[in-house]
Amino acid sequence: MAARITEDQIWAWLEAVPDPEIPVISVVDLGVIRGVEVSGDDVKVTITPTYSGCPAMAVIAMDIETALARQGVTRLNLETRIAPPWTTDWLSEKGRARLEEFGIAPPQAAGGPERCPRCGSAAVEKVSQFGSTPCKAQWRCTDCLEPFDYFKCI
């Protein structure tokens, strides 16, 4: 490798790895990257699962390995850590904005979406506590009548 890799460089490369199920946000925006350490040519990346059984975690690990390998990182140690447990507080501000643009209401401490991601109305109701992925619930807007995903707050 010509130049020495820096931790900032690794973070920047990880910024370009999309979440496999919600590709508008990156794995960094999702808050699952808990640490990056570089020591010579050795790179250690620590990730944490969103939900303990989320099947996307295996894909995320593979995508990280592939993306870093493409940049010439050959000595990667990918570690999984469960403590402290992932929380939606770790979603980046950019990630929250992207989710909403994409039609997924971002998590709110109040336990439900602030507004419909399509028309902006606050008149929303829950359809189901669960949705198309472990991290989402189904809601609907009673003004524009569109159903939408809500990113569960945990």
Binding site: P49, Y51, S52, G53, C54, P55, I82, A83, P84, P85, V127, S128, Q129, F130, G131, S132, P134, Q138, K152, I154
Partner: protein, 250 residues
């Protein structure tokens, strides 16, 4: 007997057996939303299984993997509560069981967060978030069905009456529980009984359901001494791939 290994098997087997039972609804639940909810709940439980049995395999130290523990043990080596292995029957029994389990699991995992065993505390903290979400849904659904139509109330009451004699097993302390309490790994299950009963009573009252009087408790699941006939049938389905094609992977 290694009490910590035994303790971890109990946690993992509870999650695995209920996770598998719940996954049996995938594709056949009464409504699409419920199908998705049940399948997501199953997924959380299988994820928790990987954490508990993964640690159990390490503690055992005999080279068995998480998958070996899940797919290559026989019924008498499983240490789950009997309540979790009985068939789903209808949607009412499935949700009543989930509620009885969640109502225990939330205070239990909450207490385990203070475990002297760091790994146990970490797994509990991770699982607790999911368990709280499950309890929110299972208690709300039990109330909606119990306080619903004549038919849904009748089904829920039948489910409660059927499951009730299985709930007592949760609080039967034994040598493993006392060893875990002694070393500060976990509280005694019996210490949580009052808390569980209060939540259950409140929810059942709101659900217009009668709480059974019987104190009789079926036992033998968490010790592995006497499982119901149903576990073997469930394992036959769950383990068939690894039994027929040992080591198969994808």
């Amino acid at each position: 007997m290694d009490h910590l290994f035994e303790f971890l098997l109990r946690q993992g087997d509870n999650a695995l057996v209920l996770g598998h039972r719940t996954s049996e609804w995938c594709g056949i639940a009464p409504a699409l939303e419920e199908d998705i909810a049940l399948t997501n709940t199953a997924l959380d439980l299988i994820g928790q299984t990987q954490l508990w049995l993964g640690y159990a395999a390490e503690v055992e130290g005999k080279g068995r993997s998480t998958n070996d523990l899940a797919f290559l043990r026989d019924a008498y080596d499983f240490k789950n509560l009997l309540m979790l292995e009985v068939p789903n029957a209808d949607f009412g029994r499935t949700l009543a069981r989930q509620f009885f389990f969640d109502a225990f699991q939330v205070p239990w995992l909450d207490a385990l967060q203070a475990s002297t065993d760091t790994r146990v505390a970490e797994i509990a903290a991770k699982s607790l978030k999911e368990a709280r979400y499950h309890l929110e849904r299972s208690s709300a659904t039990v109330i909606a069905l119990g306080d619903g139509t004549e038919d849904s109330n009748r089904r829920l009451q039948a489910a409660v009456d059927y499951l009730w004699p299985y709930t007592g097993e949760v609080f039967e302390d034994d040598a493993t529980d006392r060893a875990m309490a002694g070393s500060g790994v976990a509280p005694l299950p019996s210490d949580l009984r009052t808390q569980w009963e209060n939540v259950v009573s409140d929810t059942m009252m709101a659900a217009c359901l009668a709480r059974p009087e019987s104190q009789f408790a079926h036992k033998g699941g968490r010790t592995g001494v006497r499982h119901t006939e149903h576990l073997g049938h469930m394992l036959a389905t769950m383990q068939v791939l690894q039994r027929s094609h040992p080591g198969a992977a994808w």
